[in-house]
């Protein structure tokens, strides 16, 4: 296995939880809702995903538990922000506090337990192909799912009527409502979908990445996922680019450190953040505001009049 190939495999693995969580949040935001509670939903997904896998012995059921936990937490958010017109930013941050606490309580009993990590899909002959074999075909199921998810989201948003309605809801909920679309119901579904994705992203960590659970193991990845949605300008294609860019710089700076170049590690560690900022500035500069698909109603309270 060559070094380049090894690095690429690490990059894909490191980017996958970011991509999963960000893909869900992208749909949420496209519907006009800003849920800043991604970190909280992720850590809940991690705790419940691990618990589910440990109890059932199945990675798949564990992942489902993670999805369910993330979605359940997002339902609380939806009830508050959609049902009671509570400010979304505050509710999202409170959701993160709640999720951190709940996951700690749920996960406490599972700290130090061990599970069998998610299997890597080995396809006879294909996986053993040089370079591309392991890279494209030897990953775990979460990796393939994250790619399929983004493709599905793209197809849904741009190629289906339902996606069009969802985007319209995010861009102008007043008009969408006037046209007779159930704005709150659409947003509820989007929020639940986003919660499920965040839960799955969280579950990926203890189920496949580092097969054990400790509280707070998401370590801020939810925040990075939120930033990546912004980076993507709310476009699924660019989201993939952003997630892999962040993952790539993260992994590469570790490799550069191992070479002993003598560059302060603080500078190396800050590179993924700086790179994302610089690339965003460059993209924004060349495309201007026109390149952004920011939903116009993002974060705004909507209460239908009857």
């Amino acid at each position: 296995m060559g070094l380049l190939e090894a690095i690429l495999i690490s990059v894909i693995a490191a980017s996958t939880p970011l991509l999963l969580a960000a893909a869900g949040e992208l749909v949420v935001e496209r519907s006009g809702v800003l849920n800043l509670g991604v970190e909280g939903m992720m850590i809940m997904g991690a705790a419940c995903g691990f618990a589910g896998c440990w109890l059932t012995g199945s990675t798949f059921l564990g992942a489902l538990c993670g999805i369910a936990a993330g979605a359940a937490l997002s339902l609380v958010f939806a009830m508050l922000t959609l049902g009671l017109a509570v400010n979304q930013v505050a509710a999202g941050l409170a959701l993160t506090i709640l999720g951190t606490g709940l996951s700690g309580l749920i996960g406490a009993g599972f700290v130090g337990q061990r599970i069998v990590p998610a299997p890597h899909l080995d396809i006879p002959f294909i996986t053993t192909l040089p370079v591309v074999g392991k890279l494209f075909f030897g990953q775990d199921g979460f990796v393939y799912f994250s790619i399929l998810l983004v493709i599905a989201i793209w197809w849904f948003l741009y190629r289906t009527r339902a996606g069009l309605i969802l985007r319209a809801t995010g861009d102008n909920h007043t008009s969408a409502h006037a046209l007779g679309y159930p704005v709150l119901k659409i947003r509820l579904l989007a929020v639940l979908f986003g919660g499920g994705c965040a839960g799955l992203a969280g579950a990926y960590l203890p189920l496949a990445y580092t097969p054990f659970f400790i509280p707070g193991m998401t370590a801020g990845r939810g925040w990075i996922a939120l930033a990546l949605v912004v980076f993507s300008s709310w476009r699924p294609g660019r989201l993939v680019g952003g997630a892999y860019l962040f993952g790539a710089v993260t992994i590469l700076q570790l490799h550069a450190q191992a070479l002993g170049l003598g560059i302060p590690s603080q500078l190396m560690t800050s590179l993924p953040y700086l790179a994302t900022v610089v690339v965003l500035v460059l993209i924004s500069r060349s495309r201007g505001i026109a390149g952004s698909a920011a939903p116009a109603s993002l974060g705004m309270v909507f209460v239908p009049d009857r």
């Binding site: 054990f212 193991m217 993260t250 570790l254 191992a258 302060p264 603080q266």
Partner: protein
């Protein structure tokens, strides 16, 4: 239905009120702990929590313990310590370096309360400090790594470049050099104590760069698991991590705080407690090595011999002369070996480390 629920909740509340709130027992010594991370971090804080549990087991009928977890080292810690002092805790352990000045401040305000601060260097008449000589364990690991590494390269995952981590890297190298003078080390700083994903990424990067033994100074078993997946070897940190790498772990440095907590609490109960400076190691069993596994018998014997030498005091990891990266011998302030102060505040790499300390 809703009303019924409300009524039953109210009844439940009253019922609990009638029975509860009996946690107060005036004649028991209250012992408090301040933790840096969550108790379930599987690393540093977890080992202190295990120590506290051992204390409760040993002296549970005479004492009552309290802990505050996830206490920020900045503005919050002084309040958290003072809150313990104000609520009748007579002996307070603060378990991270960053609590040193806050502990000192509170100790001055509460001269009758006994304070114990971990891994610092300041004391007061009512504030002692304690730490483990973890570098002793690192030296043994270095000897093992020097013997076991076929490629002669150790991969080292560092958290932050504090003296304890630096002295660990140096002790490892000195141990390894004692059996393989050409040993090399690759160091990655992850700038966190607590991010399993990042620790795993660092371990993968080291493995990809051809390292065949991984050593870590971060808390989680992530690096051990990566090593297990890659079929290379690794050392555990803080706890015995053999469960996460049955065929991978060579040994582990175990933080063993329980005996110290029991000893000091007993002293406080007897009225013999004095503020001291404790720096215990393998001999006093504050630092314990996990069983030597996954290595041939001759390496195991060498490791055991090294351990015995350190315990007996015939072998000191930082025996003079110690050479810095520039090849010059470091001033030897402790007679035959570096003085404790030189090790506690270590900020240079020994000869053979081909890297630079970040920020230096």
């Amino acid at each position: 239905m809703k009303k019924l629920l409300m009524i039953s909740a109210a009844i439940a509340a009253v019922a609990v009120a009638a029975t509860g709130y009996n946690a107060h027992a005036a004649d028991k010594l209250k012992v408090g702990f301040i933790y840096l991370g969550p108790v379930g971090d599987l690393g540093w804080t977890y080992r202190h929590e295990v120590g506290r549990q051992e204390l409760v087991k040993a002296l549970g009928d005479k004492i009552e313990t309290t802990y505050l977890e996830n206490v920020n080292e900045g503005p919050d810690s002084e309040r958290s310590i003072e809150q313990l002092a104000r609520t009748g805790h007579q002996l307070i352990f603060t378990t991270s370096f960053g609590y040193m000045d806050p502990t000192l401040k509170v100790a001055k305000r509460f001269p009758k309360i006994k304070f114990e601060h971990a891994t610092g260097f300041k004391t007061a008449p009512n504030m002692g400090n304690y730490a483990g000589r973890f570098y002793e364990g690192r030296y043994i690991q270095g000897v093992i790594a020097g013997k076991m590494s076929k490629k002669g390269v150790i991969g080292y995952i560092g958290s932050f470049p504090i003296p304890e981590v630096i002295s660990g890297i140096n002790a490892t190298m000195l141990g390894a050099q004692s059996v393989n003078p050409n040993i090399k080390v690759k160091i990655i700083w992850v700038n966190t104590w607590f991010d399993p994903g990042k620790e795993a990424d660092a371990a993968k990067a080291l493995a990809d760069q051809g390292v065949d033994i991984i050593m870590q100074h971060t808390d989680s078993p992530a690096a051990m698991q990566v090593a297990a997946q890659r079929g290379i070897l690794a050392f555990g940190q803080d706890s015995d991590m053999i469960k996460f790498g049955p065929k991978t772990q060579l040994t582990a440095i175990i933080d063993n705080w329980g005996p110290y907590y029991i000893k000091q609490t007993k002293a406080a109960l007897d009225g013999t407690w004095k503020a001291g400076e404790t720096w215990d190691g393998l001999k006093e069993k504050m630092v314990v090595m996990a069983p030597y596994t996954n290595m041939p018998d001759d390496v195991k014997a060498l490791a055991e011999k090294t351990e015995a030498g350190i315990v007996a005091g015939t072998l000191h990891p930082f025996k003079c002369p110690v050479y810095g990266q520039d090849g010059k011998a470091v001033e030897c302030k402790g007679g035959t070996h570096l003085a404790p102060g030189q090790i506690l505040g270590m900020n240079f790499y020994v000869k053979g480390v081909d890297d630079k300390i970040p920020g230096k």
